[in-house]
């Protein structure tokens, strides 16, 4: 560790511990209409991203009611579903994102445990 200077740009201490260079997160949140659950999920994920991935994430919110054909292509079962497309591996996070700890585990931002 001493040979490798810690970059200033690291957004959080937790991410820094994981080692690999920072990467842009490509996230898609699939919701079904403007339900309370959808709204909660959107608000929660935005907060989490801002806190932990500020500046290196792209979040796209998709309403399945508007684009139902995406549900099959993206293998969506539950709603809301957040798909972490990048960095690999692909991860699916379901639910209203109310447990930020679990969201971070799901995003591989934080190790499980």
């Amino acid at each position: 560790m001493s040979t490798k200077p810690v970059p200033d740009t690291i957004p959080s201490a937790e991410a820094g511990l994981t080692g690999p260079p920072p990467q842009t997160y490509l996230l898609r949140l699939y919701v079904t209409g403007a339900t309370a659950k959808s709204a909660r999920a959107i608000a929660n994920i935005k907060t989490i991203c801002e806190e932990h991935l500020e500046g290196r994430y792209v979040l796209e919110v998709v309403d399945l009611y508007q684009q139902p054909e995406l549900a099959q292509g993206q293998q969506i079962i539950a709603a809301p579903t957040l798909i972490k497309e990048l960095p690999l591996p692909l991860r699916r996070i379901i639910g209203d994102m109310s447990s930020s700890e679990r969201v971070l585990v799901g995003l591989d931002v934080r190790r499980n445990g």
């Binding site: 999920a41 399945l64 709603a79 579903t81 379901i94």
Partner: protein
């Protein structure tokens, strides 16, 4: 159909036999649960439901697969002749593989299955589906957390399907003590079908049972079913009851003398005929005659052989003057030869069923029946044969069955105890006497006709079967050379009697001749005596006349006085 069955609208599955059991199909616009253990054909049944719907009833369908991917499914059912790719291209079928990988999923709070609903709803709307299959939805429980949420969502899913008016099949794995692992039967309460695969005597058979059908009568038995190149066939034959029409038409047995014994006209058309007998009594020859006669009339005959191959049967029958080969070539006669152990009873029955439906024969021959019987399955064999006979009768097909009676057992006993199902029962017996075995035929019963009660000797000649009168004289019932010997002896006895009479007649004649001779001799003797006596009398008279003359002369010479009389001269 009776009016009460009309109350509940039904959607025909198009699966052979299933619609008969359910009285018309699955409940329209409602989900049906199909459950069973692995490998018993749930997916296939569900897929056939969709494919038949799309191809035969113009009802597009959505197949949502949770276990097999689309290419896997397509390949699996291609062997059944289902071309999914074409149906998908024609928008008559939609396949959706729902991929769930537990390790990829992180649950972070409250969720629902709206994503799945959107998918399903979109697929339904896109092709205007009327039918839906969810195979196997319980996979969700393994792939997603929170069973509580899932249960609530499943309830909502089934509601959604009902609201959309989908006739749906939901499949489920069989669980411990429950029909399905997750108790899906709780949600799908309209119709439940259980599939099962059991192995008996090393032979596996798939069975289907309608456990529940709300608002409808249905067959409650376990029905065996078969998966072959045409899809699924269920055999609902026993559910049909005894309503077959009967025919007054008669059909020749192929042996004139036997027809004469059977009220002069042969078997009834559409009846079941059983020929039982010990080994080598000519059962197959009777079958061959019957088949040949039918072919001669231009009727189709289907011959199920379970002990000999087709060519062996034709060779053997050819040796007794029954040529079947030409009829096979003309397509009037078809052989189906298979070992009984080749498949389970139900499979055999199903195969026979299918063969009969395809070939549409007027006569079906099963030779022999009892090769199906192995240890301990008599009840099943009987059930199977009953279904076969019912089916034949319903189709107005004359069934001709042979039954091999084991040596030593009662001749009027069939192994499968099917005698009560039989209309005409011929008995062939080998009678052993005088160092030879001779065959005799008698009619044990023949329903609905005046039939002969006589035993006939059954001769197998190079010109086919011939029936002869047996000897039933004072020496008992004799057959074969004993009959010939007895007949010869009787002829000899009659000849001897005739000769004796002639001899006696000759003796009498001789006596008469002798008597005549004696009479003549006596008469001659009498005439001789008579002549002698007369001569004597004549002679006496002549002498007396002589004396008188001499006396007169003497007197004259002595010049005697006038004659004084005849006194001595003094």
């Amino acid at each position: 159909m009776d009016p009460e069955r009309r109350l509940l609208p039904k959607t025909p599955t198009g699966i052979a036999g299933l619609d008969e059991i359910t009285g018309g199909g699955l409940p329209s616009g409602r989900p049906t649960l199909v459950c069973g253990s692995a490998g018993c054909g749930k997916t296939l049944l569900a897929m056939e439901f969709l494919v038949r719907g799309a191809t035969q009833y113009n009802e597009p369908g959505v197949f949502m697969a949770f276990e097999e991917t689309v290419p896997e499914l397509t390949a699996n059912v291609a062997s059944l002749g289902f071309d999914l790719e074409t149906l998908i291209a024609q928008r008559r079928l939609a396949l959706d593989f729902v991929f769930i990988e537990r390790s990829e999923i992180e649950e972070t709070g409250e969720f629902d299955l709206e994503g799945l609903f959107v998918r399903l709803g979109y697929a339904i709307d896109r092709i205007g589906a009327k039918r839906v299959v969810l195979d196997t939805i319980e996979t969700l429980f393994a792939g997603l957390p929170s069973p509580m949420i899932l249960r609530a969502e499943l309830r909502r899913l089934f509601r959604l399907l009902k609201d959309k008016g989908m006739t749906a099949i939901i499949t489920g794995e069989r669980g411990d003590g429950l029909l399905t692992r997750q108790g899906l039967e709780e949600y799908v309460s309209d119709c439940v079908i259980v599939l099962d695969q059991r192995v008996t005597d090393l032979i596996s058979t798939r069975r289907l049972r309608v456990v529940k059908y709300r608002g409808s009568a249905h067959g409650t038995n376990e029905y065996p079913f078969l998966i072959d190149e045409d899809g699924i066939s269920v055999l609902p034959i026993t559910s049909l009851g005894l309503q077959h029409p009967v025919s007054e038409e008669r059909v020749s047995s192929g042996i004139a003398r036997l027809d004469a014994m059977l009220g002069g006209a042969g078997y009834y058309c559409g009846s079941s005929v059983l020929v039982s007998g010990t080994a080598g009594t000519g059962k197959s020859s009777l079958a061959g005659h019957f088949a040949e006669a039918a072919c001669r009339r231009g009727e189709r005959v289907l011959y199920f052989a379970f002990e000999e191959s087709a060519s062996q049967i034709m060779r053997n029958l050819g040796s007794v003057g029954i040529a079947l080969q030409p009829w096979v070539e003309q397509g009037l006669l078809q052989f189906r030869a298979a070992r009984p152990t080749f498949a389970g009873l139900e499979l055999h029955l199903t195969l026979m069923h299918k063969a009969i439906e395809q070939f549409k024969p007027r006569i079906v021959i099963v030779d022999p029946l009892n090769s199906f019987i192995s240890a301990g399955n008599e009840a099943e064999v009987k059930a199977m044969l009953m279904r076969l006979m019912d089916f034949l009768k319903l189709s107005q097909i004359t069934g001709f069955f042979t039954n091999l009676t084991a040596g030593g057992s009662a001749a009027d006993h069939t192994d499968a105890a099917i005698s009560s199902l039989i209309d005409t029962w011929l008995l062939l017996l080998a009678v052993e006497s005088g160092g030879e075995r001779n065959r005799v035929l008698s009619i044990l019963k023949s329903r609905g006709m005046a039939h002969s009660n006589q035993t006939r000797e059954f001769l197998i000649t190079s010109d086919g079967v011939q029936l002869c009168d047996v000897y039933t004289g004072s020496g008992g019932v004799l057959t074969g050379s004993a009959r010939l010997a007895q007949e010869a002896e009787e002829r000899a006895q009659q000849l001897a009697l005739r000769q004796e009479i002639e001899r006696q007649e000759r003796a009498l004649e001789r006596k008469r001749v002798v008597l005549d001779g004696q009479i003549t001799a006596l008469r001659l003797e009498f005439e001789a005596q008579q002549a002698e006596t007369q001569a004597l009398v004549e002679r006496q008279k002549a002498r007396e006349a002589q004396l008188a003359r001499e006396r007169l002369g003497m007197a004259w010479s002595r010049q005697a006085d006038a004659p004084t009389g005849t006194g001595e001269p003094s």
